[in-house]
Point group: none
Chain length 416, copies 2
């Protein structure tokens, strides 16, 4: 399998506000034809570092792609430095200068003298025309390595890559296709998960498996290589199947859906409706549910009952119950769910009440103590959680846990 490195050039990419997005697009395009990106570098207008970066990249990878630094101004150094890194000269191309002059004339301008620098190319390079800008690209073949020099603006870089580089790489690249599949998991810790599934996935070199821990969800990412897309897909499918069997209901999506989309789909399939009563999540569950287009079919109403009075007034939670058990309690969570369900006349209601912090924790109920309530016609339940994290994360994890609880309940009901 061929491997590539991407070098993004420009001091603006080393500021706090700019990130290199060209490399994401290039990665997708390269992956599709079976070329893996092994390393990405972002370097400023710094001749020594750029030269070292290009030399190192060529020494260890088959394909090196640079983006940016081909403009006409002083700090656009890619042309000069990439020639140096290859131990080649820059040569002046009269015909490029003519084209540049013509380009400016077409827009009614005289070419500024600074643009003259754009008529220099690396000796022996194939020139890649740029219909969308003044900087041509370059392709240099050396010792079975390829150096590809592209302009930075995406609307110049992308067509140049698509029209001139892809056909070239397709000639040399072996027929390997790379496909990814992601299993989304809830309700488990990362290491507990890994203990369960490592014996399965370590038996495979292809697909490769990575587990990514992200908020409460864990993504298990499978990356397979195959001689056809179908081959790669079926390799992923086989391993996904084994992992899914091991994890059971903890896998909530194998096609990249969010929890709220999975819950929405289950509600739609079963023709059921939902309302939510939120205290510490403050509207987050409603917000997540309604961010799914079409959610008005199953999600009718929510109550954000942040104060105790609101819990009593809006949801009929008895004041005595709050006084006796506290607003953060199993009893209040259940009462909120029951009250919400009655008010909204939905099949299901879920509720959340908890201590999101940073203040409000007690010895008995420290920050992170959260109760999820659940009500359906025949049953009222609650779940106590001790969630780690800051306020933001506790709130997010609470919303995920409430939605996951509902998901598991709907699945159970379906199994009966």
């Amino acid at each position: 399998m061929l491997c590539a490195e991407i070098v993004a050039i420009g001091s603006e990419l080393l500021t706090p506000d700019k990130t290199d997005t060209n490399s994401l697009w290039l990665t997708a395009a390269l992956n599709e034809i079976g070329i893996e990106v092994k390393l990405k570098t972002t370097v400023g207008d710094d001749e020594l570092r750029l030269e070292e970066t290009i030399r190192d990249a060529l020494s260890r990878s088959d394909i090196v792609i640079t983006t940016g630094g081909l403009g006409p101004t002083e700090d656009d150094i890619t042309r000069k430095v990439s020639a140096k890194a290859l131990d080649r000269e820059l040569v002046f191309k009269e015909e490029l200068l003519e084209e540049l002059r013509e380009r400016f004339r077409a827009y009614g301008y005289e070419m500024p003298e600074t643009n003259r620098s754009q008529a220099y190319v690396i000796s022996g390079a194939t020139i890649l025309p740029n219909p969308n800008g003044s900087a041509v690209g370059m392709l240099v073949e050396t010792d079975k390595k390829l150096l590809i020099v592209l302009p930075g603006p995406p609307r110049e870089m992308k067509p140049m890559f698509r029209d001139h580089i892809l056909p070239k790489l397709n000639e040399t690249a072996p027929e390997i296709y790379v496909k990814r599949k992601t299993l989304k998991v809830s309700g488990m810790g990362e290491s507990a998960l890994d203990e369960l599934i490592a014996p399965i996935y370590t038996a495979y070199k292809n697909p490769q498996t990575a587990t990514l821990f992200n908020k409460t969800a864990i993504d298990i990412q499978l990356t397979a290589q195959g001689k056809t897309e179908e081959d790669a897909d079926s390799l992923n499918q086989e391993l996904a199947q084994k992992i899914s069997e091991k994890l059971g209901v903890a896998v909530f999506s194998t096609i990249g859906e969010k929890m709220e989309e999975v819950v929405g789909k289950l509600l739609t399939q079963t023709g059921k409706t939902l309302s939510v009563a939120e205290s510490c999540t403050g509207g987050l569950i409603g917000e997540r549910l309604t961010n799914v287009s079409g959610s008005s079919k199953y999600f009718f109403e929510g109550a954000i009952t942040y104060s105790n009075e609101a819990k009593t007034r809006a949801l009929g939670v008895p004041k005595d119950l709050i006084d006796k058990h506290g607003a953060v309690s199993a009893e209040v969570a259940e009462s909120m769910a029951v009250g919400m369900r009655e008010r909204a006349k939905t099949d299901y209601a879920i509720s959340v009440t908890g201590v999101a912090g940073p203040t409000g924790g007690t010895e008995e109920k420290p920050v992170g103590t959260v109760f999820v309530g659940y009500a359906v016609n025949s049953e009222t339940r609650s779940l106590r959680l001790n969630l780690p994290g800051d306020r933001n994360l506790i709130r997010w994890r609470s919303s995920q846990a409430a939605l996951d609880y509902l998901r598991r309940k709907i699945l159970e009901a379906g199994d009966e």
Copy 2:
């Protein structure tokens, strides 16, 4: 001036969908104390490339910061490889293992054996505690160079850097201080804004000014350099003052606050209380308000009335009114706000009803048509908006507009 390199580690960062955002935050933090970021590398779980990257970085830069790859699983290689790049050993710390065990116990779990790997640190490294996760960080000083090894999750990485690295770097006091100041603006387009303020900021070379368009908010970012922090701050302050005078109430924060924080502060200062009634935003306004710690003092209750029946039942919006004007109308927005305010017994209520799309638009009320309602004792108002963007953005912009409307109303009331 000291220079730094940042190495982001993890194969997921070499996929088409993930980008390294830690480095942006680190760059801002480093710039502020006069340290320049000269190069950034993203490398996968690839031992040879990672070792070479760390060696190269240490050979040419004063400070090298790595993020990620410190988890307990097989593919988390940073610990091992960074030790190798320094020609040092990994040493096992019994006390770290005990802390890890204790950490798991506190959440009611037994520590999985895989986490044992997290008790190994580079010989001679200063251990950086991680209150937010199981992976400690490391600081290694060698030949006047610093290698700083941080975990990948931002909520673990950021406090560790702030609490343990910044004080250390501050000891090596630089001669130039870089300070940023951000003015946050609402209710204006980017070019209208620039036309107003360009004549002001173009007169300054220091601070430099950048306007960043982000959702409905526009950030005006000033970056000043000074011989002391105070010098840099006062340069920013002078220009910020001039721009603020020109823009007036459109500037909602000069100290980086979010809209919901500004609104919360105004409510606290004036001793007023708030409730919200949400249709198309589905809980987003409540979620944003309650994400501010201490919001329970002024935010009492919200209603997510997604269906028409819920609007009538929960808020007393007359069915006739909905039939006559439609659920997305000024009349219904106002009635929602009035009903919410009465139910929750708050000083203010705001409401939102709109077409977030992608479906549901009509010729008269296309996708993006949103009404914001506002009710206070003496006054009921509404505002019609035509918001561009996809579903997600329309919802976010609606929530911002509603909060901004309330903010302007509170300020007006204060001026009277």
